[in-house]
């Protein structure tokens, strides 16, 4: 069904026949059977999805953000639907790292998938504490550092929007663990490549992008914000073009492997991120819309490779053709 014009863009190997395409990737030293992961905060600690999909088929699970101490989270309402997206202000509710290790991790360990722990804190010390606590615990493939938190001790400056603060944080965490360290970047910045370079300079092994865009919605009848927290994070297909752009910019700026995310719902969405330069991708809000989205994407990637005669998904990383 493709027209002649379309075919022009496709390299010669497209004619080869590929029966069992290779989906495996290695991100930040973490080997995965396929590049499909779940984004932090949208898949709990995995167990909630075990009645819906076979977790063994996932490349990796990035768990809900974990902190040194339990966090209560924000008052409701915490979410609001927007055109092709949603706002959330959960407030990083979590039971704390000890409960995670004792109650959640044992279940996750029983699955054949890479477990990446998303961590955060409200000061450099809190970040270091949770990192040290997780270091050496079996069953953890790597840490993803959510740097989009305000440093309460340092007057609320957000680590993720200040290059110096981000560098200091990541350098400290690098010393605190031997686990693969993935910095999760905020899109709410003028130049995301500065942060990518800072992460590279601090010894990180990989990057995750993007976190949510800061947004707000107002109920015009009662004149109140739709979220009790006033502002929240925008996610979903609405932000996909911004995410693809940032992955593309960062892939050209640094050598670190990238986990791309932001509005991924279909195999085509995943391919956009991979062509833009992502080694792996994560599904976030998409899990709410189609709880099978991750597996549908893994299957769709395999079919795409077969159809196009491409032996490995790795052959597509960063392969967007830009004149």
């Amino acid at each position: 069904m493709r027209s002649a014009e379309l075919k022009k863009g496709i390299p010669a190997k497209a004619s080869k026949c590929v029966t069992s395409p290779d989906l495996s990737v290695n991100v930040a030293g973490i080997k995965m059977k396929n590049p499909v992961m779940t984004a932090s905060g949208t898949f709990g600690y995995g167990e909630e999805f075990k009645d819906i999909i076979d977790l063994n088929r996932l490349g990796g699970i990035i768990v809900k953000g974990v902190s040194a101490r339990p966090i209560k989270g924000n008052p409701p309402p915490r979410i609001w639907e927007t055109p092709a997206g949603m706002l959330n202000a959960i407030g990083l509710e979590n039971p704390g790292v000890d409960v995670f290790i004792n109650e959640k991790l044992p279940i996750l360990r029983s699955y054949d998938t890479a477990v990446i722990v998303n961590i955060f804190g409200y000061s450099l010390e809190e970040y270091v504490a949770v990192t040290e606590r997780l270091d050496g615990i079996p069953g953890i493939a790597g840490l993803e550092v959510n740097i989009s938190c305000p440093n309460v001790k340092a007057g609320g400056i957000v680590f993720g929007t200040n290059v110096k603060a981000a560098s200091e944080l990541l350098t400290a965490l690098r010393k605190a663990t031997k686990l693969p360290l993935i910095a999760k970047l905020s899109p709410n910045v003028t130049d995301i490549t500065e942060f990518a370079r800072a992460a590279e300079g601090s010894g990180c092994d990989g990057l995750s992008l993007i976190n949510t865009l800061l947004g707000m919605a107002i109920d015009v009848r009662c004149r109140k914000p739709r979220l009790a927290n006033v502002t929240g994070g925008l996610s979903g297909p609405a932000i996909k073009p911004v995410a693809v752009r940032m992955v593309w910019q960062v892939a050209r700026a640094v050598k670190l492997p990238i986990i791309g995310m932001g509005g991924i719902m279909t195999p085509e969405d995943a391919l956009e991120f991979i062509l833009a330069g992502a080694t792996a991708i994560a599904v976030g809000t998409g899990n709410f819309i189609n709880p099978r989205a991750t597996l549908d994407i893994a299957d769709g990637l395999a079919s795409h490779l077969k159809r196009e005669g491409i032996p490995s998904v790795r052959d597509l990383i960063g392969q967007v053709i830009v004149a």
């Binding site: 009645d51 409701p76 309402p77 979410i79 639907e81 997206g85 109920d219 709410f288």
Partner: protein, 274 residues
Amino acid sequence: MPPTKLHQATVVLHQEAGRGYFRIVLKAPGLAKQARPGQFVMLRVSENQDPILARPFGIAAVKSKQYIELFYRVVGRGTALLATVERDAVLQVQGPLGNGFPAPEKGTTPLLVAGGSGFPPLLYFALSMRHPLYMFLGARDKECLPPLRAIKSCREQAEKVYIATDDGSAGTRGFVTDGLAAFLDSRNDRESFVIYACGPRSMMAAVSKLAAERGISCFVSMEERMACGLGVCMGCSVAVRTGGYKRVCKEGPVFKSSDIDWSEQVVLPALHRK
């Protein structure tokens, strides 16, 4: 793997049910077999990405272990879209979700209190038990009461159905809680009562207070905006009295009313209720 919670359900019946409600019957055997009263489903109302989130609806009945029945009112874009769905359409449904109502113990007398469009899960609950029970239905006016078909089912199942409307256009004039209070105070077998309420938060708060004052145990089915329905997004949390939050979709939607922190201010406007 345990039975899946994700289903492709076929619309076998979809019609206006009166009083602004729609009744939809979905063929979803896998779902129907697992369902218990008080549980709910998340229904995708559009195949596109606007609106993007699925909508939660309480299960109003399970038929022949194959079909589930829902009642809904058009209150916004999602329900308006749902109302246009034709017979034989296939919808993505997740469920059954949530904990459901705890089965009433032997010898207890359930009092079911429904405000506005809170009746569907209570209807299923009523139909599922053999206990003698009483129902209290309240709404702003006659046109906001449950459709006649549903009220008829209630009458068949309950010892008595008490109806109240704010404007007196049907049943007694006043809040459903007024009738409930009068009922409770007129009876001397109070210790056998267990209250199950579903409706707008303000009504449930009043029922909860009533029950607490009289030492009657009370369960409420809460509502919050939902994204996942599976307990992963933490979006549907309600404040509980022990501090912190619980997820309506996972630990709920049914809670002991004494567990809820009713003082917590809530912005969510419950348009479709009351």
